[in-house]
Amino acid sequence: MIAEFGHIALIFALTIALVQAVVPMLGAARNDERLMLVGNTAALGQWIFILIAFFALMNAYVTSDFSVANVANNSHSAKPLIYKIAGVWGNHEGSLVLWVLILSTFGGAIVLFGGNLPPALRARVLSVQALVAIGFLSFSLFTSNPFERLAPAPLDGVGLNPLLQDPGLAIHPPFLYLGYVGFSIAFAFAIAALVEGRVDAAWARWVRPWTLVAWSFLTIGIALGSWWAYYELGWGGWWFWDPVENASFMPWLAGTALLHSSIVSEKRDALKAWTILLAIVTFSLSLLGTFLVRSGVLTSVHSFASDPARGAFILGFLVIVVGGSFILFALRAPKLRSGGLFAPVSREGGMVINNLLLSAAAATVLLGTLYPLFVDALGAGKVSVGPPYFNTVFIPLMTPLILLAGIAPMLTWKRSDLAGMFARMRVALGVSFLVLFWFVYQKWGNTVFGALGMAISAWLAVAVLWDWVIRVRLLEGSLTGSFSRAIRIPRSTYGMMCAHFGVAVLVAGITASSAWKIEAIQVMEPGDSVSVAGYEYLFQGVSQTQGPNYSVDRGHFVVTRDGSLVTELWPENRFYPVQQQPTTEAGIHTRWNADLYAVVGDPDGQGGWSTRIYHNPLVVWIWLGAFIMAFGGVLSLSDRRHRIGAPRRSQDSLPISASRSRTAH
């Protein structure tokens, strides 16, 4: 019964979305306030009904109602409760419900928190939201109905993929979707602006908080996915440039460009067409990602059940939404009048280059991801594009960007004084050269790559810190003076510093764990010991036990250093009998400067076991860096100026001109 309620709720939501797509847009065109307000009610109604549907599905999972086909295909009574819940979105149909739930939640948030938006803009934004919702709701209802019943109901379900029975992976999709779907708001704002024919600083001020929310969530979502791959897949890697990883990374790159571009649009009334285009492109990449994962066009360890029929539906949707947006852009964007002028060497100029590099990076990843398809479609055979390609082309693009990130906060708006800027960069330059020489001197191997990477990371970190030192005039005497200045720095500036610092940490982690990773592969018998990077790993053998729904071969390592105990590692090889699937759990001990990582493989039949031990320097900095970045985003979000919103548009709708002082962010 509850499942049927859920089904009906989805249908209601679709009907409301149909109304919401048309009426408010009409109202905005005619300046009819009643019609525009329909948007508010509709958005809230849509949200409530989808919430009902979502909980109906969750109820089916939690109660193990196997008469619902989706539950029977993806769940099992022996599954722990938390994974029954996570199982709701661990499959194609359920994840679509999560998608539209988040979409409608954002729509509801616009209604509840967007009180300071001009009614016409809000109405148009909600209409665009509804348009996207129509696409996904119809996709769900017509091709991927999660509430389909099975008669007769099976006694038990097929079970959830064991790889998905993991805390990291349970929360990875919600964060990812909050990011993906969150960009639909920026998209809606962009379309609304194009329809209205106006983009001003106030518009950019409204767009920024929503973009920040989406960006922060996406950063965390990607980091979670990567971290999960690291500790779950047993080979110590954390990024494979898999099509689905790329599908989440491309919107992130474009979204970062969008974030920066919207700052320029807000402060200097410039780069409007770029910002609009980036808003459209970012969400389009999210939609493209959805298509790639579910259509079977690309292989991935990750894809949901691939079905060309479903793929065709999404492709059609993509053509309408994205194609339509780009056509609208081609028609309306040329009419957008650009405001402030600026010299190439200025903060705006820096942002333009930032846009350029990030867009080029996103385009490159897109090229590499889709290239196998191009070649195959043209009948030129098969080619595969793997990590060696991406690493080769991506790093040269990112390096100048990171260098730029260190310079940019020191650039002033409109026109920068190069000489003064170089003077301010001296400290960061000096430190990074010291770092470079120190690592070259160490000769740990992979010297060029490793030393350069660490030097670049040091450059950015010191540049951020030095920027703060200059802003608070730390070296010019009174500490209380510096303190009061530090407090008065706006939170969005701190957000920027935090985010950029996070990038530095991330780069250091990537560099060290790639350049100086040590792997030891050998066959060990109980009592054998192997030495890796100064740590002694004593193998104690393998024992067999049972988990809640799996059987386990658990290995045991005692790790010592200079004779004293460091830790004990318990890598596992699990076997899930229901799905007949094995998984590995690595035994990991995380230290600030390295991870000690052990995996047990197959027995050799003679009492020994093949083992792999990895020493991964600074690998935890990767996820730490990502979380610091996301925190920076949240910090920026908490800036009062965002919450109050932009000043209301009054009769003289000249944009609030940006302050010219350097301290304003």
Binding site: S295, V297, L298, L315, L318, G323, A330, L373, D376, A377
Partner: protein
């Protein structure tokens, strides 16, 4: 002014081209690895017989007639699904049908064939899968079409369905026989 208008049209144009490829991609299988050996001679191999109830398969046995080599294993479920079609083909005598037993135990394979029937003229036992690698096999079942001169003409990946027979295999065999 018109020149800059062109810039604004770029996104639509690029997107349009992209969609054409994506549409085409829906009917392709990205995980299929087609054979790299088309029109090349069958690699030289000599596989022992499964047991004393059948004869082995060597590359020198092929040639002089159009033949099919089916790579199968008793542990392979899709092989079961396609087996009736192979039995029918053997019964119809359309083409010479041989088998390579891939990474299997002889007794398991024998039991499997006893249960489902043996459509093969010759069966080679590829215990360690080396010959499979020579042929570019990466999964089971796979079926090779070999022409009279001993050249590989086509490889079918996965179980054979009636549709595959009617659409690809039988027409090819007919063409080669002319």
């Amino acid at each position: 002014m018109n020149k800059s208008r062109l810039y604004f049209l770029l996104p639509v144009i690029i997107f349009g081209v992209l969609c054409i490829f994506l549409l085409r991609g829906l009917s392709l299988d990205p995980s299929a690895v087609p054979t790299a050996l088309t029109d090349k001679n069958v690699p030289i191999f000599d596989l022992p017989a499964l047991d004393d109830q059948t004869i082995g398969l060597a590359s020198s046995d092929l040639g002089g007639e159009v033949s099919l080599i089916n790579v199968f294993a008793s542990w392979c479920l899709p092989c079961r699904v396609e087996h009736p079609l192979l039995m029918k083909m053997a019964g119809d005598g359309v083409v010479a049908l041989h088998g390579i037993n891939y990474k299997d135990e002889s007794k398991d394979a024998r039991a499997w064939l006893d249960e489902l029937g043996d459509p093969f003229g010759r069966i080679g036992a590829d215990r360690d899968g080396r010959v499979g690698i020579e042929l570019g096999v990466y999964g089971v079942p796979e079926t090779f079409v070999i022409d009279q001169s001993g050249r590989i003409r086509y490889k079918h990946i996965g179980p054979i369905t009636q549709r595959d027979l009617d659409k690809y295999l039988l027409p090819l065999i007919e063409k080669l026989n002319q």
